[in-house]
């Protein structure tokens, strides 16, 4: 980033610095953004990170690799199962463990439910930033159903530690299948209500259309992935580009838009809800019987020396784990590449010259979760 705090202090006289501080209703989490304003136009923006740093990557270096699983859920609490999935997959690739087929199906179903839950929360919170106080309540009403379903299986409501190296910790039963099918039906019937109340609303469209101007070149410069990239027209989804688990067996579309503004990423995420429902339906239809844990996973999981990588599609973009091992069961280095870190870095370029209301709108469309930026 080419800006420093010194540059901001040295700013021209008719500009002033406003601090959208760590506590602010619209920076979701502890993000601090220094805005250099001229009137109400934001000329320079400087995100200041680190308010939520908890040394996760260092913690991974002195405990056995398997023990890092609860930490993965704390990095992005909204996509916890997907982070679990990425990490379990990493260790399975490293140690050469094959998981049974039923495990893959369970992992896909619960991950997609988690993705829907994350998108519903983003939807409600984004509209709350824009000033509409009711859609968040309707979104949370739907989200409660998912949380109840997942609580019945995993025992937790938000920070799941459900996947294990070689399987999952508890099997799903018929109650899960029936309640998930009931939920799919319910959410599909709610989409027209959301479209009436929110998506078609002229005030919302004026707030979102033509705000922000991402294009594929900017995205590749900053490493932006996820719904933001798909809003610029590039149909890049890790579930299709580098298929992991059993995603290659399912028939789903990758929603894309072309304009690259806030409305584009908004509609991409909204349409991903329907695609996730399709994946869950197909997975439930094809759920095989079988064990839920690979037999004979050693308690002390020694990882052969070398580098290993695993990428999954988190709700915010591409999540990658990179493990460097020296042959023991404690990793030498674990690097987590989180999507929100790259997504945030485009803010100074994208939001330059915008009104404050537009800065709020653009940052909401980026769908940032600060704990995963700071780790």
């Amino acid at each position: 980033m080419s800006m420093d705090i010194e540059v901001l202090e040295d700013a021209q006289h008719h500009r002033y610095v406003l601090n959208m501080g760590p506590q602010h209703p619209s920076t979701h989490g502890v993000l601090r953004v220094l805005l250099e304003l001229e009137g109400e136009y934001a000329m320079n923006l400087l995100p200041v990170l680190g308010y939520g740093h908890r040394c996760h990557e260092k913690i991974a270096e002195f405990k056995p690799a398997k023990s890092f699983m609860p930490n993965t859920a704390r990095m992005d609490y909204l996509g916890a199962l997907i982070y679990n999935h990425g990490f379990a997959q990493l260790l399975e690739r490293a140690a050469g463990i094959e998981v049974p087929e039923r495990v893959e199906y369970i992992r896909v179903i619960t991950s997609e439910l988690n993705r829907i839950q994350s998108h519903l929360l983003w939807y409600g919170a984004y509209l709350l930033d824009l000033g509409a106080f009711t859609p968040i309540m309707y979104a949370f009403d739907d989200r409660e159903h998912i949380l109840d379903i997942l609580e019945d299986v995993t025992g937790s409501r938000l920070t799941y530690c459900y996947f294990r190296v070689g399987g999952v910790s508890k099997d799903i039963d018929d109650k899960f299948v029936t309640s998930t099918r009931a939920f799919i039906k319910r959410l599909r019937s709610r989409f027209p209500m959301y479209e009436d109340l929110v998506n078609g609303n002229v005030i919302l469209q004026n707030r979102l259309i033509d705000i922000g101007d991402l294009n594929p070149q900017t995205c590749s410069r900053y490493g932006i992935t996820g719904p933001l990239l798909r809003g610029t027209g590039v149909a890049y989804d890790i579930r299709r580009a580098e298929p992991y688990s059993i995603y290659s067996q399912f028939d789903f579309e990758i929603p894309t838009e072309t304009k690259g503004d806030c409305m584009a990423s908004f509609m991409v995420r909204f349409r991903e809800l329907e695609q996730s429902l399709r994946i869950i339906e197909q997975a439930l239809d094809g759920l095989p019987e079988g064990p839920i844990m690979t037999p004979k996973v050693p308690k002390k999981l020694k990882i052969p020396a070398g580098d290993y990588n695993s990428s999954v599609e988190a709700p915010r973009g591409e999540l990658s784990y990179y493990l460097v091992s020296d042959g023991s069961d404690v990793p030498y280095r674990l690097k987590v590449r989180t999507p929100s870190y790259s997504n945030l870095s485009v803010v100074p370029e994208m939001c330059q010259g915008m009104l404050i209301s537009d800065v709020v709108s653009a940052m909401g469309a980026l769908d940032l979760v600060i704990p995963e930026i700071d780790r």
Partner: protein, 146 residues
């Protein structure tokens, strides 16, 4: 000129459609469970803090103080100690404490226990005034439970 009026009318119509959604919600039943007065049923699979299970056949716990849970715990919150007593096969459990302030509810201890002596409790109404309120003495708890 034409787009001026068409924007006006589509905008006004979208606003009215939104109003219809809200008024319908106003007359729908509320979905809140008003917590202290009504309580929701917690699923039996809920992960509360761990407890030693009191088995019906022996009337006590089945912990053999092997210490696997202590070693597996990622957050180092369990302390298990046992001692050799005469006439008792294997070790007898003397200390089993859980520091719940550090526990991340990962479930590694429950899954690794060879005798299935640990299980999740279902306590969720936990509030205290001091950190020490959450240092549970699980051996005492299992002996006092009926």
């Amino acid at each position: 000129m034409r787009s001026y009026f068409s924007k006006l009318f589509t905008g006004a119509w979208s606003l009215i459609v939104g109003l219809k959604v809200t008024i319908k919600a106003m007359f729908s039943p509320i979905v809140t469970c008003q917590y202290p007065r009504e309580k929701m049923e917690v699923t039996p699979n809920y992960r509360g803090h761990i407890d030693l299970v009191k088995f019906a056949d022996t009337g006590t716990h089945k912990c053999i103080s092997c210490g696997s849970c202590m070693r597996e715990c990622p957050s180092d919150c369990i302390v298990v100690e046992g001692e050799k007593r005469e006439g008792v096969k294997g070790k007898a459990l003397t200390i089993f404490t859980l520091n719940f302030t550090k526990c991340s509810l990962c479930g590694a201890c429950v899954e690794v226990c060879p005798t299935k002596a640990l299980d999740y409790s279902d306590e969720y109404e936990l509030a205290g005034f001091a950190r020490e309120d959450f240092y549970y003495d699980l051996l005492k708890r299992v002996e006092e439970r009926e």
